[in-house]
Amino acid sequence: MEMITVKGLKKNFGELEVLKGIDLSVQKGDVVAVLGPSGSGKSTFLRCLIDLEEAEGGSIYIEGSPLLEEGKYIPKKQRRELLYKMGMVFQHFNLFPHMSVRDNLILAPLLHKQGSKQELINKANEMLKTVSLAQKLNDMPKSLSGGQKQRIAIARALMQNPDILLFDEPTSALDPELTGEVLRVIKRLAQEKMTMVIVTHEINFAREAANKVLFMDEGYVLAFGTPEEVIDNNKSERIKNFFAKLDTK
């Protein structure tokens, strides 16, 4: 089943053309790593998928339903329901600092009437186990480490029973020794066949966890294929240069 379909997606910031016609098809269970140089439009692309940015042209379909069709958006009211099928995890976690971990987790599903408060608290407990933070239900975000915060953010996204998860550099704001615990959680989700699109600079993680790699450059898709095809055996000079530079770092 086609989970995300993007055709000719265009996005400008004023004069600046950031996305110049992106095409992508994500199948159920795909884990797509989005790679590319800084400023190539990776974040903007992800943000367009979940309606944090409005595109100027092209089409976006979520599980076959249009969000954007040939440059025209569906009405705002209908977008909310469609977009709730997707969860997103941000670079800076964006937990709600005034709420406990528990309230961060149950807020959205409670408002969407996905269960009674008690049911959702039980579910929150289960989710915390899947991100290995079983004891943290009543903690405030402030008291958590960066890696713990990001795992809570993942648990929060999972609470909405998403069909698709989007990640924008989920480990870039973390100390190096804390990235592992977050990447492990994402790898486990990949094994469980969660459909995911992950913007990342972690090449090894992309190789291990992703079955597809999307390489973006200056608002275009330069390559889309398996990690071997894109990372290890690509003929494009730009792509070879990109990975050569990373290796020497």
């Binding site: 944090l52 977009l83 941000f90 709600f96 005034h98 807020l107 959205a108 405030m140």
Partner: protein, 216 residues
Amino acid sequence: MPLNEWIPQMAQGCLLTLKLFAVTIVFSVPLGLLLTFLYTSKNRVVTKIIALYILLMRGTPLLLQIFFVYFGLPYLPVIGKYVTINSRFVAGAVAFIFNYAAYFAEIFRGGLLSVDKGQYEAAKVLGLSETQTRFKIVLPQMFRISLPAVSNEAIILIKDTALVTAIGLVDLLKVTKTIVNKTTNVSAFLVATLFYLVMSYILTLVFKFLEKKFDY
């Protein structure tokens, strides 16, 4: 006149000071919040009107505003006879409420601007409506950010209340002055100082407690 006669009189004056303070806080904080909402709305005309209102309230002396409410309102054309306020206390309170609401509006607006953009994005991605986002995510954080500035404003208010002596209300300062005039003993001023200090100190403690409580 000995000290044990001053104290009850001064306490009486204090009571008026506290009443004025309480009434002002209770009404000007919500009014300030409403002004902030209107100020940050998308309607250009509304925004301009609120900006003008805030300029007027912050750009002219509070004393003048108190005089205007008590003496000036009846002379307004057409609506004058409907808005006349005869009670000195009500007139003073109205002036304080409208004046402080402008200050609180600016404080809250600052607080609103400091709520991280990522909070709105997280709320949107989690499918919260704009209203849910405002009340469950943005406002609690806005209050927290605004708390120190609100505390500051509240302490200024306690002292500002003394301005109402100008329209003949008998507050702590007025009582003190009367005592000093009668007894030619200036130590009443010292007692008044203590009264003000105690009130300010209690306020400081209350806000410290609130800041601790909401220290997330």
